[in-house]
Structures are given as C-alpha cells and as structure tokens.
C-alpha cells in the first residue's frame, strides 16, 4: 500500500468553503494547499479510462493504489431505433443509451473531459453522482457544440453512481437518453465473478403511441404527466432480448450493474426465475441477501449478484408489470448448460428423499 498523508482536520465550515473557492479558481492544486477534511491516498502514475458500451463493463481494476485517471467522453446527438419501425432523436454520452460505462477506483484522481460533438444542436454538461463538488461537475462542463471542458475530482466514495446531463431543461436531456453509470470500486475491489453486465432503465415520452411508426418527437405533456409511452432497458425495445440477450453458462456467478436514468419512474427491478443472492442496496456498501425485487430510484443504481444454477432464460423486468407487457421494460440473460433436476425440473421431482 502507498504512504498516506495525514491531513489535519478543521471544524470550520468557512475554511472549507474558502478552500473550495480557491480550488474553483486555481484548478486542482495537487500537493499544494489541500482541503483539510480527510485522508487521501497519494496518486501514482496515470492512465486513460477504457470506457465500454452497454451491456459490457470494463475489466475489473487490479492495481492496489490510486492513480490519475483521464476520462474522455463525447456527447453525440443521433437518431436511433427506439422500437421496430420507430426512431427517436437520442442525445447520448458516447453514442449509446445508456452512456459509456466508467470504472475507477476509490481514491483515484479523475480528470474528466466532456466533449460536445461539433454537429450537436444543443449545449450539454454532466453531473456525476460520484463527484463531491459543485453540481457534480455540471458547473464546469457546460459546453457548446464543438467545444470541450475539463474538471478534476477525487473519487471519495466507493459505489455505483448515475451520471446524467444537467443542462436546462434537464428533464428533456435525461428523457432523450443522457445518463449512464460510473463505478467507483472500493479499495479492496469487488469479489471476483464470472460475468458482469451493464443495463439501465429509462422512460421515454413520444408524441405517437407505443409502437406508432416513424421518427417520434419528444412529448412535453406526457413527460409532465409522467406517462411514458416506453419504459426500456438500454434505450430500445429488444436491446437486450432475443439475439441481443446477455449470455451466461450454468454454474457461473453474474454481477449486474443496474441503473435507472428516469427521468420520472422508479424501477421495481426483478429477475424472473432467479433470486438475487446479493444486492448492494442503492449501489452503496450495504449488501442485502436473497432479494426478489429491489427498488431502483430515478437517478439511482443497484449492484445485483446471483449464481446460475440451471439453464433458463432469465427475464429482467420492472415488476410494475404493465411496463413489461405494454411499454417494453424487458431484458434477458440466456443461461445455457446442463440441467440440474435437483434444483428445478418440470413435472414430478426425481430427487431421492432420505428418510
């Protein structure tokens, strides 16, 4: 482990505010004056974050020290498929909904560059819930098309966090797909698993009814009334079903990073035919066990883990069930492998009963 610098504690909130002000002007001061509130690990070396498009997740972090991580994320506005025959003008972080997955380690110094593509129509910014600092970065990153902006933050708290655009009118930017997840791995890392996936729920408000063909404009009144036409995992009907289903094998451990971009609905996240062995409640440090359905608030996340004991098609749903039948809130994990009739069998059980 690295040497740690013990930093004096002050009880004066005023000093804190003043220090924050100095940082806002001078930028990150490195080994100069630091905010006297907590122990921070020294920074060794630097690296560029490898971002992934959903449902993939960057590889687990193996280093046991904090480093300077550069994140480059580009905002792109693009028309994409919402459902068969239905298109929508999405606003994205990195070209996908949800946006690129970002993985850093607790204590890392993150230099975050937000780029707005030159052909965008709108300014955008980013508020990462993992950030301790003004607006989660939103203040520092409001960028016009063709521009970029950088800010630096220390990943103080481990956990799974939502990021989203916070440019007015915020509800439209989020409803158009501007959200994603950033994982701050705890210093000790997360337990090793066989597979990790990334998905986010979001609600969409189109002028046309669900399934109505064509490029569908955003509908203000439906957003205001919180009555979406679509409730989706990863931004499209069928984004994670059929040929696009996530794949796993019997006997594997699976970890899902699940977020809810909203903008309005809370998710009753549930896996049909599977029980969550572990749920990192609200993406934090508290782990609950043997959970059937976990609530994921808008602007919140959860990490869920389970072992695949039998082959099946595990359906991931928002158990507010009309959203599955009528609005698209469905994803799937195809688990292949040998049957285990001691765990599940259609018909009469063959298991021997020991008297």
């Amino acid at each position: 482990m690295t040497d740690r610098r013990k930093i004096g504690i002050t009880s004066s909130v005023f000093v804190l505010v003043a220090a924050a002000g100095i940082f806002a002007v001078a930028g990150w001061a490195g080994d100069e004056e630091s905010i006297p509130v907590r122990e921070l690990p020294d920074i060794k070396g630097s690296e560029v974050a490898q971002l992934t498009a959903p449902p993939m997740v960057p590889a687990a972090i193996t280093r046991n020290y904090a480093t300077r991580v550069t994140v480059n994320l580009e905002v792109k506005e693009q028309t994409m498929r919402l459902a068969d025959g239905v298109e929508y003008e999405f606003w994205t972080f990195g070209g996908t909904v949800p946006g690129s997955f970002i993985r850093v380690r607790e204590g890392d110094l993150v230099e975050f560059k937000l780029i707005n593509a030159h052909d965008s129509g709108m300014p955008h910014n980013i508020d990462l819930h993992a950030v301790t600092g003004q607006g989660g970065g939103a203040e520092a990153t409001l960028v016009a098309p063709g521009k970029d902006a950088t800010f630096t933050f220390r990943a103080l708290n481990p956990g799974l966090y939502v990021y989203h655009c916070a440019t007015a009118p915020v509800p439209v930017h989020i409803a158009n797909g501007m959200y994603g997840l950033i994982l701050v791995e705890p210093k000790a890392g997360l337990p090793k698993v066989d597979r990790e996936f990334y998905l986010m729920q979001g609600d969409f408000y189109t002028t046309g009814r669900h399934g109505q063909a064509g490029v569908q404009p955003f509908d203000f009144q439906k957003l205001y009334d919180e009555k979406p036409e679509y409730v989706l995992f990863n931004g499209a009907v069928g984004a994670l079903t059929g040929d696009n289903a996530m794949q796993a094998k019997v006997g594997e451990t699976i970890r899902l990073y699940v977020g809810n971009g909203g903008p309005n609905l809370t998710s009753s996240f549930h896996a049909i035919g599977e029980v969550f062995d572990n749920v990192y409640v609200e993406g934090g440090t508290l782990v609950n066990h043997n959970v059937q359905t976990t609530l994921i608030p808008a602007g919140g996340a959860a990490i869920v883990e389970f072992r695949t004991d039998v082959p099946s098609n595990i359906l991931l749903v928002d158990h507010a069930i009309s959203r599955v039948f009528n609005k698209g809130a469905l994803a799937a994990i195809k688990v292949s492998g040998k049957e285990n009739v001691l765990v599940y069998k259609k018909g009469t059980a063959a298991a021997r009963v020991v008297e």
Partner: protein, 250 residues
Amino acid sequence: MLRRIAIVLLLGLVPLTSVSGTGPVPRGMARIAAGSFRPLYGSHGPGTTTVKAFAIDTVAVSAAAFLRFTEQHPQWRRNRVSAAFADAQYLAGVIADSKRPVTNVSWHAADSYCRARAARLPSTNEWEYIARASETDRNAAAQPAFKQRVLELVISARPGQFRLGSGFRNAWGVRDLHGGPMEWTSDYQAIFDHSAHGSGHAEKTMACSAGTVETGDASDYAAFMRYAFRRSVEPNSAPANAGFRCSSDL
C-alpha cells in the same frame, strides 16, 4: 386661432410619435410594436418586462451576406480574425450561400456586422418577446400546442441544413425563429449576471424547473434551450449551431 392650435398640436405630435417608435422600418425588417411580457430569466420578481417598439430582420443573415461583409472588412476574414474575437470554429465550412443562414460566427463578428449595417443585435428580451408569436397570434405563449410545436422544431433543428425562410412566418412577419440555428443577442450573458458565480446557476436551473419565483413559464422548454445556448457560449465562440439577425430602434 383654431388653426394655430391645430398646428401646435401637430408639431407636438411629431416628436411624440417618433419617440413612441413609429419611425420608418429599415428594408428587410419587420416592425414590432411595444409591449410587455415575462421572460424566462431576467425578470425580477413577479413583474413583467417592457420592450420598446423596434424593427428586426424578417430572416437571419445569410452566409453569402456575411462573407460579403468579411470582404469589405478584412479583419473579419477567417484567416485574419483575432482569436480574441472568434475561436477556431469561426466560419469553418461556411460557403457563400444566399439561401442558408450563416453559422460559425462569434458574438463579436455578429455585433460588428450589424453595426456596419447601422443596426444592432436584438436584445435577449426583444428576441424572446417575438418568439412567443405563432402565425396568427402575437402571444401564443399560453398555448400548449404552440409550445410543443416549437419544442419539436428546436429539438429537431439541423442548423447546417436549414434554408432561410423555410420556417413559419409569425404574426409579426418574422420567419425562422424556431427550427433554424440559435441566434446571438446583444446582451446574452448579462441575463445571467446575478447567478454568474458559485451555485447560482444550478440553483436557478433547478428552481426554474420547479417553477418557483423569479422565473417565467417553466413549461416553456424551448426557451430553456435558448437560454442554455446563451449560457454555453463566450463572445468569441463560433459554434455551428448559431447565427444571428439584426434589429434596429424605431
């Protein structure tokens, strides 16, 4: 005696009418009558903001017209302009097309163009005042269908493909306010002065979203987008999503 009184009255009327804004309307502009309204930002308290009579271009400045200006004023050519007045995006990809609005122009360049025409950029309040007009109503701001239509136009705007005059002509006779490039205004940043530091911006944004005091209509999302554009740019920014039109006192 009566005749003398009539002459005095007439003489009195002449300066009065010019003060109240009924002077001649410059060519290519539409006359906008004085009025008051409540803008999204910049109106303090529950009161409204008053706009004097003015004139404004019926369409935005074309790419061809702007490039002619740069020929007459070489300091505004792409290869000559100071970085302090226009960034690297200035006039990038702009060709002399009279059918398309100029984009990739900085506030400084737009301001200078209008001055060369003995005109000026419209104020933000003037721009927002006329932006409320539908084809038939000078004030359609309270009509949800109009707001939704404007919002769709703004979201689906393709500034690089927009053709001058292709947008709707509003009740003032002004075209293309919604659906084309965003447009520079003279005082686009002053609007935010009261919240230029610290958390003011975020608070204001969220407070506006919540429809609290000191805001206009929090359901006017297209207006939020215009103000977000204004907040995102510096006077030397020359983004591909913005052009301008000129206005004039009356």
